[in-house]
Structures are given as structure tokens and as C-alpha cells.
Amino acid sequence: MTVSLIVGTKKGAAILTSDKDRRTWKADFALKGWPVTASARDDGGRYYAAVANDVFGPAVFISDDLKEWKQLESAPRFNPGDKGNEQHIRIAGAADFMGRYKDGPRLVDQIWTLHAAHGAIYAGTSEAGLFVTRDRGKSWEPVSGFNDHPNRDKWEPGFGGLCAHTILSDPKNPNRMWVGVSSSGFFRTDDGGKTWNEKSKGVNTDLGICVHHVTHDPTEPNVLFRQDHRGVYRSDDAGDTWVVTEQGLPCGELSDGHRCSFGFAIAMDRKSRSVFIAPLEGDNFRMPHNGELAIYKSNDKGANWQPRKTGLPSNCYSGVLRGAMTTDQLDPGGVYFGTSSGSVYASSDVGESWSEVASELPRIMSVEAYAT
């Protein structure tokens, strides 16, 4: 039994490998020079790593052994005639924006997430888009029902751009998927991607629909846990309605005075059905409350949360990005997260205690765990 972590950083991927005990970790470094924004593994055991460079754009690398990586000749790309979102273009091209991007093109500038489902790999991108490869990366097709959503002209980007950063699927129902877009909503399809409906009823949307990340147990896919800009929520009906689930969580003040539990990362261990989040002190500060790095854990579907700090540092003023926490689905479950200051923490006891297994890495953008 081997557990491998692909830790995507601003300057490449740290590949951390351990055995089932997950006590000692061997480190390697791959894709040097590329910001590594997401990874996934398909049913055949092939690994996919998304990269994005501000100059040379996004691409996808593949590997069958986590040692040798080869860039695919194809990548998610919009159709040449697609019109871009002006506000996204302004954010993405801020350095040289002089009005020239009005009526500009819709371009993929980053792949935010990769998701394996139903024998395919899906990619969520910014400018917000959904793409799929069904031939192991030889070609990527746009999911037109999503990319040409009838309300797309009204979609508002977050301050990081208009990005599709979360993809979830229902293993038993290939017609149902969910996609989260900052800051335009959490969308569900029930017809295989032809139509998508926004699902945020019950979520505080006073300042837009700013979903940060969503997780679920694929064996109970319609129970969803959502870390939103404006708090933590659960849905028991596939996203149709949401309720706040913040009992025990630290709350902070947002820019408009609203108090809630702010954060980005959320992950779930399927064996125990424990849910984990990494609260940050509001949208102004984006650092652990009181400088105490803590992962909060719920064993009762979000009804109550408890902090888990054993092995985590005090005087910590970095954050955990939305793609930087994951679980390995072993028994007992392993939980992993990376910080924006380059540390990786691992737990082999379902989040009860932690140890730092890598440090001094560049800013960590994504963490995924793969057991073989």
C-alpha cells in the first residue's frame, strides 16, 4: 500500500509518498517552474496535473508513475468565437488593461480543478468553463450547456476572477453533476450537462453568490457541505436548500459587518463521514483566528464542530486555499492540507492529530491524495 500526495505549488509539484502507516514521507519535486493548480487520477491509474503560467498559459501533464511527466498536446479551450466576460478579462489582464478587452475573447487562463467521473476527466477553468476528456487527454470538449449558460452574461467574477473551481458528481447517476463558480453560484445539472440550475436557496447572498468549495460523500451524494464566503452550510437535498451549520466554529466579521465562519477549504472522509474545514479570520484577514492554525472537524454532518490543533503551530499567519485540503479514503482516514506559506500537514487518524510532513515549499495551491 502506497499513499502519494500531489502538492501543487506556485513553482511545481511536490510528490510526497508514504506507506499505509503514513508516518514517514519521501519527497520529490516535479514540473519545476510550472504553477500546479490541480490534479486527478483516472480509473486506469493515470495521473493528470494542471499547470498555468501567466505568460505561456495553461496545460495538462500526464504521468503513469508520478516520475515521468508528459504534456498533452490538447487542453481545455473555449471556441474561438466565444465572447469573454469583461470583468474577468479586466482582472486577468489587469497589468495592461486599457479598455482593449471590452468585447474581448473568452480564454482559459487557468484550470482550477480536475475531477474524475464516469470514465472521464472533467476540468473547471477560469474564465469559468467546464470541459471533459473521454480519451485520456487526447482531446477536450467544452460542456456547452454550462459554458453557454443562458445567464452567463450576468455572471459576476470574484476578485480572483470568474472561475469554475469545484466539480462534484453522483457515481450512480451520470446525469447529475455540480459545479461551483466564484462568484456566480453553485450549479446542478440533472440531464447530463445540457441544462444547469443555480442552487443557493438558504445561503446568504447579500453580496453575490460566492461559493468557495463544496464536498460530499459520493455514496451519499445529495448531502452537501459548503464553505461559502458567507459561512458554512449543509444541504440534504442535493443543493435545493441550504442551512447554516456553524455550531462550534469561530466566526469573524466580513467587510459588510456580517459575521460567519469564513474559509476556503472543505473535505470529507468517507469511511467516518467526518467533515473538515480550515476557518480563517474573515475576508479582510484570511489567516487563522488568533494565529492558531486549527482544522475543525464535524462527526455529525456539520451539526457541531470541534477544533483539532494537536501538532499544528501557533503564530501562524498563512491560509489554506480552496484546493489545498483532501482525504485519502483509507481506514483510518488520512487528511492532508497545504498552506500558502509552503507547509504540508498530514493526519493518519481522521484529523485528530497532525504532523508537518513538508515545509519551505512555494505557496501551495492544490493537494490531492492517491492510495494505491
Binding site: 505561456f56 496545460a59 498536446e73 474561438p80 466565444d82
Partner: protein
Amino acid sequence: MIRVQVPPVLRSVTGGARTLEAEGTTVREVFEDIAKRHPALALHLFDERSGIRRNIICVHRDSVVRAGDMDSRKVDQGEELILANAFAGG
């Protein structure tokens, strides 16, 4: 023949080659030629509308050429283009 110096981060798609040889009379034509020979490189040079990626710069005759000028910038046989990974900071 024009020589194009490839930055280290892109050498994974050129078979490790530091320098490529290409034909063309403008920077754009040279880029199109090397993209044809190295299809994975095409993703990094051209966007969805076949425009040269807006943040790309190269050095030609000791001066910086920006993406917006590459369609018209003439290159002569025997010259060299240095494709730069234009980053700053740590």
C-alpha cells in the same frame, strides 16, 4: 533559417532542445512554424483565437518585442529570437 531560443520551462515540449530552427519572415510566422513542429508548444504560444498570448515577449536585435507587435515585426534569415519567460519577483 531563424533560430529561436527556448526558455527552460518550455523545453519539456521541445524534447529538451534549447534552440529550435524555423522559417518565417515575421515573429508570428516563426512562432507558427515552431508550433507546427511541436504541437504541445502551440498551446503556450497561441490562445483560442490564434492570437499570440498577450504576455509573451521575445528579444530580437537586442530589443524587447511584445505580443502586440509580433505580427508585423520582420525577421531576417540568420537572426535569433529569444523567447523569454517574463516573470518578476521570487
